[in-house]
Symmetry: D2
Subunit: 132 residues, 4 copies
């Protein structure tokens, strides 16, 4: 349950006329963070979805501390908060290259059967990997 770090540059399209990253775009940054957290665990979200499991976000909470600027090299640190059951929860920290903490965030996602649309448990193969 370690921390995964993922870095990327701010796109021009992501800024708004305040001259900083539009606050709503952080949702995409967090999504990249947890997708790379999963990949580091040996699972791609794509393969999970192909196998019939979806993982919709059911709660999103972001606190903004400092602005991200165009062309900044940002890093999202993603951490699992507890053993997943029917839900999986992550904490995030977003930093700029100078090491300033720009935002903290928390998301809750639910495991869902793609066909039935009903909640299911976290797949065993993910729980197994978490115990390695």
């Amino acid at each position: 349950m370690g921390v995964n770090s993922h870095s990327f540059r701010v796109r021009y399209a992501e800024t708004d006329q305040m001259g900083v990253v539009y606050h709503g775009n952080y949702a995409q940054y967090l999504e990249m963070g947890r997708v790379e957290w999963l990949r580091a665990l040996g699972v791609t979200y794509k393969s999970m979805e192909d196998s019939g499991i979806m993982l919709p976000v059911i709660s999103l909470h972001i606190d903004y501390k400092k602005s991200a600027l165009y062309d900044d090299l940002l890093t999202v640190e993603t951490q699992l908060t507890s053993r997943p059951l029917v839900k999986i929860e992550f904490d995030y920290k977003v930093f700029n290259e100078a090491g300033d903490l720009l935002a903290t965030a928390h998301t809750v996602l639910a495991f869902m059967d793609k066909k039935t649309g009903r909640p299911i448990k976290c797949p065993e193969y993910i729980l197994d990997k978490l115990e390695d």
Copy 2:
């Protein structure tokens, strides 16, 4: 094959740090234009897709004349350019509230069978409505 006009306000999220609407967001404006053109014809794109027909964009061309600003009330004028066969082509003009022409555009979309992914002809019920 008349012109359909659709108006909407520029969102803050759609601006970039130049202080104007990010050029890439016009693709969404054109999409709203042709969706409302279809609705005015008596067809919803949603129902078309539900009936198994998709309409991917295969060519997009936009010429930008003047900037759109935050909170501007924009109008997209959408016009069919010719009788659709396996493709459907539209011309667009985007205006602000003062009547300034901000952009002209042209898109080509292809009728596609959702299951097979193959090109198909424009559905008869659309051609019929065009002749009314």
Copy 3:
């Protein structure tokens, strides 16, 4: 401090491959909600920004209950939660046309001097309008 309702259609671009509105796009829906809340009060956010006051989001919290679909006519209900001081807080409810509650949300924004980047108090003319 009444509730303002604002309605708009889901754009195709706002969906993702789950076949529903991408969760991050709700940030834009909430933004439209509070901008229209302000407009109903007799203030445009644009004029506020032109007068040197910015209103960055410092906290965003969204709970997702049910999915929004392409072409849905959504309504955002926006409500001020308390008399604004250096911050202004809103509660939101997002409904579809059938009246299903899709999401609830809460945002905190901070009044900021555009030149200095420092926090300031809510402008008097807004407080005055709230007392009307």
Copy 4:
């Protein structure tokens, strides 16, 4: 005037309910392509803008050949088409990891003085770098 290659992964947010990348998002991919082309030349677009020169897109043309999918590792190849004067033009090719050509594109951008909003010539230091 060589070709610059830039690679990145498709984000979930960039897909739409057709199950492929929304066509309008390619504008951001092209933007990343030319920004990295400039960086390879030894210039950051950020520093150019900080020095008072803006580079708005005045024409965008994209032809879509094949769909990009979620989590695909895409590569944008960006090439300058001719010596820039008051405008700078680029050709682009977008490929997936399998080497399939997904899209070709062409953009025209105009050098603009940030203060006056008027067209200017391509800065000498860029022309110099192009001759190296």
